[in-house]
């Protein structure tokens, strides 16, 4: 009976609107190419050691039957890592950052108060990343966003 109540409580929401997320880590390996460019490979996230780059890819899916709007994905920078500047991306998403976890702004507008002086935020100051999808997400539609950190 209790189970049924719980299911009923969840039902209206899961039946008509829902977004599921999946987050997957990768070991990011950069290797020089013959033409002088760098190829970035996202490999299995084993054997991660200090100094290595880790890429997280977050996949979102609208599992409901109706479009949803205002999809906002927040991801705090994991402990023991430092955000890698300009590594966050996501098609159709506006990306902002936070140095305190609560206020978000474009990177160029972020400032840090340190030792009584205000300075522009650096990679080590970034505590959280936010993606806001510009358009509504249709039923069954999916996409992904990603960012990279370096293991301290």
């Amino acid at each position: 009976m209790r189970l049924l109540t719980t299911l009923l409580f969840l039902l209206p929401f899961s039946a008509f609107a829902g977004v599921s997320l999946e987050s997957q880590p990768y070991r990011v390996v950069v290797t020089p190419q013959e033409d002088g460019s760098m190829a970035e490979e996202w490999k299995e996230a084993d054997r991660i050691a200090p100094g290595d780059k880790v890429g997280y890819r977050i996949t979102y899916v609208n599992t409901g039957e109706e479009p949803v709007s205002g999809v906002t994905i927040n991801n705090p920078v994991p402990d023991n890592t430092v955000f890698i500047m300009n590594s966050a991306n996501g098609t159709g998403a506006t990306i902002t950052y936070s140095v305190d976890g609560s206020q978000f702004a474009p990177l160029g507008e972020l400032k840090v108060l340190e030792g009584g002086e205000v300075r522009p935020a650096g990679a080590a100051d970034i505590k959280s990343i936010r993606w806001v999808l510009n358009d509504a997400l249709a039923a069954d539609a999916s996409g992904n966003v990603e960012f990279q950190v370096r293991v301290k």
């Binding site: 760098m38 299995e44 054997r47 997280y56 991801n75």
Partner: protein
């Protein structure tokens, strides 16, 4: 596992930032990551929340070591000097406890080799002492970021000459099986310290540095040159023949060489067929008494003792005494 490739031109600055990471996050640390999404349902006006946690990453052990010679100028010694000390610092620049094999060798291309090269682990006082420091016979184990003071001790060959140098190199190499000779980035499964993620060979799984022992300006022990000559003879007849009654004046010179000397004592014994003329002893033409204790000269029978004490280098002291032929 799918591998995705994307090409990106990276700036030099980004690459440079990867250059050096001391120790870093401890081996075995867990990196967790959770993303949260919020959204609105236009049909109902409700908002929802969902989250996803990525599989945890367990940090592998990164194996790195640094060896730095603390003697940046040659350490000078004399030929044959033993236990000449070169100081090194060995630092575990990896992120886990690691054993390192130490090896000290004479380098080629220099003048001489140090003999009996031995590696010692400092007992913590930073000063080499063969009685309290331990010769290294097994691998040394260092925690992440821990540094050890290592003394490489050797002898200078007895036949070495001034200015000759012996370059001695200390090498520290991770003792983890599979590390030696492996390229940076190589994963050694099952070998990580405190981590199931294995060990990863860093940029410097082995490191070396060298320092130099040098033979300094050779310092020779001070010596004393001594001469004894007959300066004059005066016989009873005013001549210079050796007959009974002839008075012989002896001149003894002493000269310290290669340095000053202390406690210099000159002893002379008058031969049996001669007798010292009482009160005849002079030092640098200054008369001295035969009595003991009042000046440098003490005469006891046929034995003359002149206590000069400290005499400077290349200073010649002249001692004269007269004896009569019996």
């Amino acid at each position: 596992m799918k591998t995705l490739t994307k090409t990106a031109l990276l700036t030099a600055g980004l690459l440079a930032s990867t250059a050096s990471w001391a120790a870093g996050t401890d081996a075995g640390s867990i990196i967790s990551n959770t993303a949260t999404a919020t959204f609105d349902d236009p049909a109902t006006g409700n908002s929802g929340t969902t989250s996803a946690t990525a599989p945890d990453i367990t940090v592998a052990e990164l194996i790195n070591v640094n060896v730095t010679a603390e003697n940046t100028v040659p350490v000078e010694g004399q030929p044959g000097d033993t236990d000449q000390v070169l100081e090194f610092t060995v630092t575990n620049t990896g992120n886990g406890t690691e054993a390192f094999t130490l090896d000290a060798t004479n380098l080629t291309g220099d003048d001489i080799d140090a003999d009996n090269v031995t590696v010692y682990l400092d007992d913590g006082d930073g000063v080499f002492n063969p009685a309290t420091d331990t010769p290294v016979t097994t691998d040394i184990v260092l925690d992440a970021d821990e540094a050890a003071t290592i003394f490489v001790v050797g002898d200078l060959p007895v036949d070495a000459t001034t200015g000759q140098q012996a370059d001695v190199e200390l090498t520290a190499t991770s003792a983890t099986p599979g590390v030696d000779g492996a390229a940076p980035g190589t994963l050694i499964p099952g070998q990580g310290t405190n981590t199931p993620a294995g060990a990863v060979v860093g940029e410097n799984p082995t490191d070396s540095d060298s320092a130099t022992l040098q033979v300094g300006e050779i310092v020779t022990d001070a010596t004393v040159a001594i001469t004894k000559t007959i300066e004059s003879r005066v016989d009873p007849f005013g001549g210079t023949t050796d007959v009974p009654g002839t008075v012989v004046t002896y001149l003894i010179t002493v000269t310290p060489e290669n340095g000053p000397v202390d406690n210099l004592v000159v002893a002379d014994s008058i031969p049996l067929d001669l007798t010292l003329v009482p009160g005849s002893v002079t030092i640098d033409t200054v008369a001295k008494t035969d009595a003991a204790g009042d000046d440098e000269v003490d005469v006891a029978g046929a034995d003359v003792t002149v206590t000069l004490g400290t005499v400077a280098q290349d200073t010649t002291v002249e001692i004269r005494l007269e004896a009569e032929i019996n």
